[in-house]
């Protein structure tokens, strides 16, 4: 009798718990199926349909893979992807080595500047470089006065420059933390066996951090090939897949966007191949970091010390130059593309007069999306970490998809899916909130998952054995421990949401335009003043979020990767 009496509350409780988490699981599956799987499937299927007869065909893909126009764009995309990746490595790895191995004064300033470069939208970089090095650019004019002609920013090298400076912080932050976690004995053993400093670097140190470098590099590649704003602002005739997908879509208006969709699939395949290649290269090369016996950064004196500091500061200064330029120009008096001289707030006044909706929209959409991401992210990561079933494993895998689907492609999928019947949301703010939500949900889930994995279940069990109910144990122990990670994740979601351009550009209407959309059209119209003022508002908002993350996150800069 007593055993039954003892068991019953437990059984009822576990049933209740099963029910609650099962509901969460079911809702997650439905939401992800509807917002992610279905739109992508639409894109996939449409590429195989003849636009006139609606029958199965491979002709669209054959056209993309044989036509010079498309092949050219494919080649260009590969070039900027690989160029951006290599550029990011060339900046990120030396910077990481310097700050991890030497005592660099102002290391946290360097890291903060790198993070700022990372969280500012890439098109701000493109547009600032136009302000500095464009045809009418400040530096171009200065040099012209001196009789020198600078290479133009427009075209392939400009895009690669912007990507390198924009994405190198991924390589830098990942490589630096890996370098810091190498057990000192490995490098000592290499030295003991006869390696000089240089040999040691190439034979031991770099191979040991290769997993981190390659993760960062692939991220740069994927983001470079997916980026839309930069090539469309400074690409001129240089077209990449994301710009032609956008152009195709806008020109195919009315008919089914078959070609845009086929190009989109090509981009997804490229990103996936890159990720798979990196996984293959890594293979089983996962080297556990060390918690003790770490290398102590060396103090460097004299000319070498100056060199190390100069290198570090030059890299981050160059990377944050666009931010400085944008903020500076926002306070200049302008009339269209012409700076009329002197400082003033007229750009801000015009922003408030002409596009106040954009500011309100951006913050409203982003805030709603962030709240949704944080709640859903927390629940889904709890399922993934604490209730390992085949379905939660599948959920984890499917959530990888947004990483490799460019925003333009996701937007096309949304437009194909939510354009009729009860789900017709085209032109609404809801569709923008939902695309922000689904595109950034994986980042939110990952942020909470990594924190949750570090919280051992035994700590909740300890609370239960001390008399707390399981619900109370979760609320009293696990939630407070998760909070720093959740806050950091939410801030990151918010930053990426307010800066989102590539997906919203296809979805906005006059009523739902956001700041990045307005900046993009202002740049194309030559309204640099408005663009700068709006960009400054975005940068200040992002900066505030970065500040909050740095305050709350234990791993500091690590929260951004």
């Amino acid at each position: 009798m007593t055993t039954v009496a003892h068991q019953r509350p437990g059984r009822i409780h576990s049933l209740l718990r099963l029910d609650f988490w099962s509901v969460v699981m079911a809702v997650s599956v439905i939401v992800i199926g509807l917002l992610l799987v279905w739109p992508i499937a639409q894109v996939l299927v449409l590429g195989f349909l003849n636009p006139d007869t609606q029958t199965f065909t491979l002709a669209n893909y054959l056209k993309v893979l044989t036509h010079r126009y498309y092949l050219g764009a494919l080649g260009n995309t590969l070039i900027v992807g690989i160029g951006g990746m290599i550029g990011a490595c060339l900046l990120g790895i030396p910077l990481a080595y310097c700050t991890a191995r030497y005592v660099v004064k102002g290391r946290s300033l360097i890291a903060t500047l790198a993070v700022m470069a990372l969280v500012s939208p890439p098109f701000i970089g493109a547009y600032s470089w136009v302000v500095v090095l464009g045809n009418n650019g400040w530096l171009t004019q200065q040099m012209k006065a001196l009789g020198m002609t600078l290479p133009t920013i427009y075209g392939i090298h400009g895009i690669i420059l912007v990507f390198s400076l924009k994405f190198f912080p991924f390589v830098y932050l990942m490589t630096e933390s890996a370098l810091r976690n190498i057990n000192r004995s490995f490098e000592e053993a290499a030295e003991n066996l006869g390696c000089s400093r240089m040999q040691r670097l190439f034979k031991v140190t770099l191979p040991l951090v290769f997993p981190a470098i390659s993760s960062g590099a692939i991220l740069c590649f994927v983001l470079s090939i997916a980026d839309f704003g930069t090539p469309s602002i400074i690409g001129r005739d240089f077209r990449t897949l994301s710009t032609i997908a956008y152009n195709q879509y806008t020109s195919e208006m009315g008919g089914p966007p078959t070609m845009a969709v086929s190009i989109s699939m090509l981009m997804i395949v490229m990103s996936m191949l890159a990720v798979l290649l990196q996984r293959h290269l890594m293979g089983k090369r996962r080297y556990a970091g060390s918690l003790t016996n770490l290398t102590v950064p060396k103090v460097c004196h004299g000319a070498f010390g100056v060199l190390v500091h100069a290198l570090c500061y030059a890299i981050v200064a160059l990377a944050t130059l666009p931010i400085a330029v944008v903020v500076y120009t926002s306070f200049l008096q302008t009339s269209g593309p012409v700076f009329t001289g002197g400082f003033g707030l007229n750009s801000y006044a015009r922003v408030i007069q002409e596009v106040p909706d954009a500011i309100a929209n951006t913050f409203r959409f982003s805030l709603i999306a962030t709240v949704l991401i944080t709640l859903a992210g927390g629940l889904i990561s709890y399922i993934i970490v604490r209730r390992e079933t085949r379905l939660s494993g599948l959920l984890d895998t499917v959530l990888m998809v947004p990483y490799v689907v460019p925003g333009v492609v996701m937007a096309i999928g949304f437009l194909l899916t939510f354009n009729q019947g009860p789900l017709d949301m085209v032109g609404t703010g809801t569709i923008i909130v939902l695309i922000l939500f689904i595109r950034r949900l994986p980042y939110g889930v990952r942020a909470t998952t990594s924190v949750l994995r570090q919280i051992k279940p035994s700590i909740e069990e300890a609370a239960i054995s001390l008399g707390a109910s399981p619900a109370k144990a979760f609320y009293k122990v696990t939630v407070p421990l998760m909070m720093p990670g959740v806050i950091a994740g939410a801030m990151m979601s918010f930053i990426t949401a307010i800066n989102e351009l590539s997906s919203t550009l296809l979805l906005y209407t006059a009523r739902t335009a956001t700041m990045p959309v307005r900046i993009y059209s202002a740049v194309l119209d030559g309204e640099f003043g408005i663009a700068a003022a709006l960009s400054t508002i975005l940068l200040v908002s992002s900066g505030l979020c970065v500040f909050v993350v740095l305050r709350f996150s234990r791993s500091k800069e690590g929260a951004f990767i």
Binding site: F186, E188, N192, C195
Partner: protein, 358 residues
């Protein structure tokens, strides 16, 4: 085979003096162990020989040639690390070949030498494995093979067994000693495990607070410790304060006891008696000292019996005896008779580093 000499090695970190003028002569082919508690400077000294720490003053000579100012990569000393430091991105073969590649040994020769040393450390079958597929003991064998294959003049080992479990530690300890004797390589070994140091070494150097306390054979270190620190750190020991030391003699626990001649006079002294020299509930076979204590704990470890006996005013004494069923049955609180022979006691000056008197 090489002789190693350390001359006036000094190393400071800020205000902390890690090594205070260390002078050591290590015979060619000797297994020489640096033993001491953590923070005593033994690892710092080993790393100075390896070249990872530059000493502030002094020199290191191998076969009369100074290596004290060469880079760590030019010293031709092998090193085995506490955490193995087997490169995780290279196979067992490539790990062992690493130093030979640095020396630009031709491929044929290299292959032979790597295979031969892998056979020696019993890893011949595992040449193609990656480190993460190996156990800790196997990884440390790779570390050993990698250090030996370049035929260094000196082998340095930094607590190589401390990350392994107890049984494996003893197996590998035996293998290391056999290999060292076979190759006749001069070896400097760092450990904080005194039993390991005694069992493996030709010479043991006990260090404390950056100073060499005693260099001697394991037998002498254990039986003729130079000072009270060595007596207490190497093996277990009981210390008893002497009373009434006069020119006529001394007394311990109220009984007159014969002490060395140079002990007479002013000052405070202690006697030390090893636990295995304490005799429990038995008559002494010669002149010595006997007293009663209160049993606190009896523990049976299989090979022997450990007793903790409270001696009011002197603290707890440890005694070791052969297992004995009637003694296992003793209960805490019972009175036991302890004694030791005068010849089994050693006498030291008072203080942590009090000198041995004889």
């Amino acid at each position: 085979m090489a002789q190693v000499q350390l001359k006036n090695i000094r190393k400071t970190y800020g205000n902390h003096v890690a090594l205070k003028d260390i002078n050591l002569d290590i015979e060619s082919g000797a297994f020489f162990t640096l033993l001491g508690p953590s923070g005593c400077g033994k690892t710092t000294l080993l790393r100075a020989i390896a070249g990872f720490h530059q000493q502030d003053a002094g020199d290191i000579l191998v076969d009369q040639q100074s290596i004290g100012h060469l880079g760590a990569n030019k010293r031709n000393v092998g090193m085995v690390f506490q955490d193995y430091a087997v490169f995780p991105h290279l196979s067992v073969f490539d790990n062992v070949a690493f130093g030979l590649v640095q020396q630009k040994i031709p491929a044929n020769d290299l292959h032979q030498r790597v295979q031969a040393i892998l056979e020696t450390v019993q890893l011949g079958q595992l040449a193609d494995r990656m480190p993460h597929q190996l156990s800790g003991g196997q990884q440390q064998r790779v570390g050993l093979a990698r250090a030996l294959v370049t035929r260094p003049k000196v082998l340095l080992m930094d607590e190589p067994l401390s990350n392994l479990d107890a049984k494996l530690r003893i197996d590998l300890r035996r293998d290391i000693r056999l290999l060292q004797q076979e190759l006749g390589i001069t070896t400097v070994y760092v450990t904080h495990d005194q039993e390991e140091a005694l069992s493996i070494s030709d010479q043991v150097c006990v260090m404390y607070d950056g100073v060499v306390q005693q260099v001697d054979t394991p037998w002498a270190i254990y039986n003729r410790p130079a000072n009270r620190f060595v007596a207490s750190f190497v093996g277990a020991n009981n210390f008893l304060a002497l009373e009434q030391v006069t020119n006529q003699g001394a007394s311990l626990l109220g009984q007159p006891i014969k002490v060395p001649d140079n002990l007479r006079g002013a000052g405070r002294f202690v006697a030390s008696v090893r636990p295995e020299k304490l005799i429990v509930n038995q008559l002494l076979a010669g002149p010595g000292c006997e007293f009663d204590g209160v049993l606190q704990q009896v523990s049976f470890t299989g090979r022997e019996l450990q007793l903790a006996v409270d001696l009011p005013g002197h603290g707890i004494l440890d005694a070791l005896t052969a297992p004995n069923e009637s003694m296992v049955a003793l209960r805490p609180g019972q009175s036991v008779r302890l004694g030791f022979l005068a010849t089994d006691a050693l006498y030291f000056e008072e203080g942590d580093l009090g000198k041995l008197l004889s």
